[in-house]
């Protein structure tokens, strides 16, 4: 895969070998998020095979460094809009395993009360704007978040993700158009994982670097090795700083590989073996482990302790989630409007009246 290798660090101004000046505690914390991301998804995959997690399940295996590295660069006031393969970013923003398990197991007390699936939850009060399944839609929405923040005089940066596939949508372009002419404080992470379901990136665009889509908008761009968590973090930090001082929006392409199928049911038979093997050797978590140990400040035992802590938290939260009841079925018609569901109200009334009519016909 020489193409991916060649373009890993061009133009970002960051070199993956350069330590980004993070303390050992912060480096360990990054490892915790990476590991948590992977272990939660492995557990979700097992629950899927048991029939406990149903519907679509989208793995970010191999892409964890992008989620964690980019979200880790955000300030506490910044707003993040994850896509379906950004579980790690949500963890960094404060989402706990319990919420995730309740959500995927469709239980009462889950963030969406069993109404919506996967990572479609959050809220502006926690700095999160959840996605819908229609790709690209978050780009104009986050432009609006940035617009409102600036109007209110808040130094907020809005960050969201698009895949190689979503960079073909109209909303990606409409959103970038609006954000660029207004110089909005937005960072767009283009997560190029080479495959949009079964469509290779070569059938998405003729560009070698999808970051070059930024040229069409006259905005700054960067390309970074998406499997190097510290490189992603450093490049995102620079992009955020640039956006915050009015130089945005910024498009940052992170090159990576989707290591599982589009969803759990898909074994990705269409991906060439050679490509899979190349990227297996570049697993972002293994790379980070090696690097931490090479630095000397973190030992293998430290890493094992962090993994143990992750597993304990997962086991504890999963147990709680599995013992939670399902939501009341009829609750699915609530909260359609601010004042409750008018439509549900109509049907209730209608039923009552029909009963009366059955009992005593007027004529």
């Amino acid at each position: 895969m020489p193409r991916a290798k060649r373009s890993t660090t061009r133009r970002t101004g960051s070199r993956p070998s350069r330590p980004p000046g993070l303390s050992t505690d912060r480096l360990r914390e990054i490892y915790y998020f990476l590991k948590m991301n992977r272990l939660i998804e492995e557990r979700l995959s097992a629950l899927y095979r048991q029939g406990k997690v149903q519907g679509g399940l989208y793995s970010s295996r191999g892409q964890e460094a992008i989620s964690v590295g980019s979200a880790y660069a955000l300030g506490p006031q910044d707003i993040l809009a994850p896509m379906i393969r950004n579980l790690g970013a949500m963890l960094v923003k404060g989402v706990r395993p319990l919420e995730l398990f309740l959500q995927y197991l469709q239980r009462e007390g889950s963030p969406c009360k069993g109404r919506d699936t996967s990572l479609h939850f959050g809220g502006i009060e926690r700095g999160l704007v959840p996605p819908i399944s229609h790709l690209g839609t978050l780009v104009p929405v986050m432009a609006g978040v940035a617009l409102a923040a600036r109007r209110r005089g808040k130094p907020v940066v809005a960050l969201t993700y698009v895949g190689d596939g979503a960079s073909s949508t109209g909303d990606f372009h409409e959103g970038l158009g609006i954000a660029s002419v207004r110089r909005l404080p937005m960072v767009l992470i283009l997560e190029n994982n080479r495959w949009a379901y079964s469509t290779p990136v070569s059938r998405q665009s003729l560009l070698t670097d999808l970051a070059d889509r930024a040229r069409g908008y006259g905005i700054p761009r960067g390309v970074v090795d998406g499997n190097d968590v510290l490189a992603v973090c450093t490049a995102t930090s620079s992009a955020i700083a640039l956006a915050r001082r009015g130089g945005g929006p910024v498009l940052l392409e992170c090159k990576t590989m989707r290591m599982r199928g589009h969803s759990e049911h898909d074994d990705a038979w269409y991906v060439p073996e050679e490509e899979k093997r190349y990227w297996e050797r570049r697993d972002p978590i293994s790379l980070y482990e090696k690097r931490l140990i090479a630095r000397g400040s973190v030992t293998q035992a430290d890493l094992q302790r962090i993994e143990k802590r992750c597993l304990e938290e997962i086991e504890r939260d999963l147990e709680t989630a599995l013992s939670a009841p399902f939501p009341a079925p009829e609750s699915c018609i609530e909260d359609v409007y601010a004042s409750g569901s008018d439509e549900a109200h109509v049907h209730e009334e209608t039923e009552g009246k029909l009963k009366v009519l059955d009992g005593g016909r007027r004529r």
């Binding site: 104009p140 609006g144 158009g177």
Partner: protein, 327 residues
């Protein structure tokens, strides 16, 4: 001496007053700032409120609505203009999936208004004359309003801006500067509640249920019917989602004969929904079939004789009403 103002001026005043009242309110759309809007609804806004609150955008309807949604999540109250309401179709996904479902999905209200000129009668052709209401009436989570009077134009835009849910506000371009509907409006602040219909003429023998520009044709038909000895009640729906089921039921029970009139095309128009409601709530009171006068199932044509043939009018309403009265 207070002056009678146009329907368009009422919309302009309504948005203006809300922007004066609440600094969270802002306008976003194409050519709304420097140019003042294709129909001049936002004339003078840029000078008064500045370019952070009167935002000219690229031609990107989905982008406009998406940005409005994002800003509303941040606590703002955006009013997004579609230059012609026909172009709202470009933003369909943002409206029906992002805006409409956020509250239900995870509790985030999206208090946006999407407004624009709808309807025919001005030789606009198939892409500048549409009545797209039913695409949105079919989407739980949205509200859809369509004022037919100058008083309502102002009261409903103010209510829409203050509403906590996404509202589609359909202003009829045929009514914009129509001298006949100019009105002297109250000096004081007022709103017209969303979800409430209004009886425009009280009657005994049959009911005409309508909204938007068709209100005038129904009132004209009702005048003629009166001279023929038929007392028609005219109910202006004003809001299409949520429908005022109580008002529909009340007039159906009262007269026992209902004719639904709309400018939108026939199949899947609101008349079908009104008819179903009457079946469910007032079947026992009916003295005849629920009839409808609508545009035919075709795109809106351009040429004058074609469009005149296509659009409902007082004569068509009168003919159907006479038929209904004979039951």
């Amino acid at each position: 001496m207070p002056e009678a103002i146009t329907y368009l001026e009422a919309i302009r005043q309504g948005i203006w007053e809300e922007m004066e009242r609440d600094d969270r309110v802002f306008c976003i759309g194409e050519d709304i700032g420097v140019y003042g809007g294709a129909f001049k609804v936002t004339k003078g806004f840029l000078e008064r409120f500045g370019e952070e609150r009167v935002i000219d955008t690229p031609i990107a309807e989905s982008g406009i609505v998406g940005a409005a949604i994002g800003a509303s999540l941040m606590g703002m109250r955006p009013v997004a203009e579609m230059q012609f309401i026909d172009f709202i179709s470009c933003a369909f996904n943002q409206i029906t999936n992002f805006a409409a479902k956020s509250r239900w999905r995870y509790g985030a209200g999206v208090p946006i208004v999407i407004r624009g000129p709808s309807g025919g009668g001005v030789r606009g052709g198939p892409f500048h004359s549409q009545n797209p209401e039913m695409y949105y009436v079919h989407t739980p989570g949205l509200k859809v309003v369509a004022p037919g009077t100058t008083y309502d134009a102002k009261g409903l835009i103010k209510a829409a801006i203050r509403d906590d849910d996404p509202v589609i506000y359909l202003e009829h371009k045929y009514l914009y500067r129509l001298p006949r509907i100019k009105e002297v409006l109250p000096r004081e602040d007022y709103v017209v509640p969303i979800g409430k219909a209004a009886v425009r003429k009280v009657g005994r023998d049959l009911s005409l249920i309508t909204y938007g520009a068709m209100l005038l044709h129904c009132l004209d038909a009702a005048d003629t019917l009166e001279k023929e000895g038929v007392s028609a009640e005219v109910l202006d729906l004003r809001t299409l989602l949520p429908l005022d089921a109580e008002a529909i039921e009340a007039t159906a029970r009262k007269t026992g004969k209902v004719l639904v009139v709309h400018e939108d095309t026939r199949t899947g128009g609101i008349a079908g929904e009104v008819t179903a409601l009457i079946n469910e709530r007032a079947f026992e009171y009916l003295d005849g079939p629920v009839l409808r006068v609508t545009a035919p199932d075709a795109p809106v044509p351009y040429s004058a004789p074609l469009e005149d043939f296509f659009l409902p009018n007082a004569v068509k309403v009168l003919e159907a009403a006479r038929r209904l009265a004979s039951y």
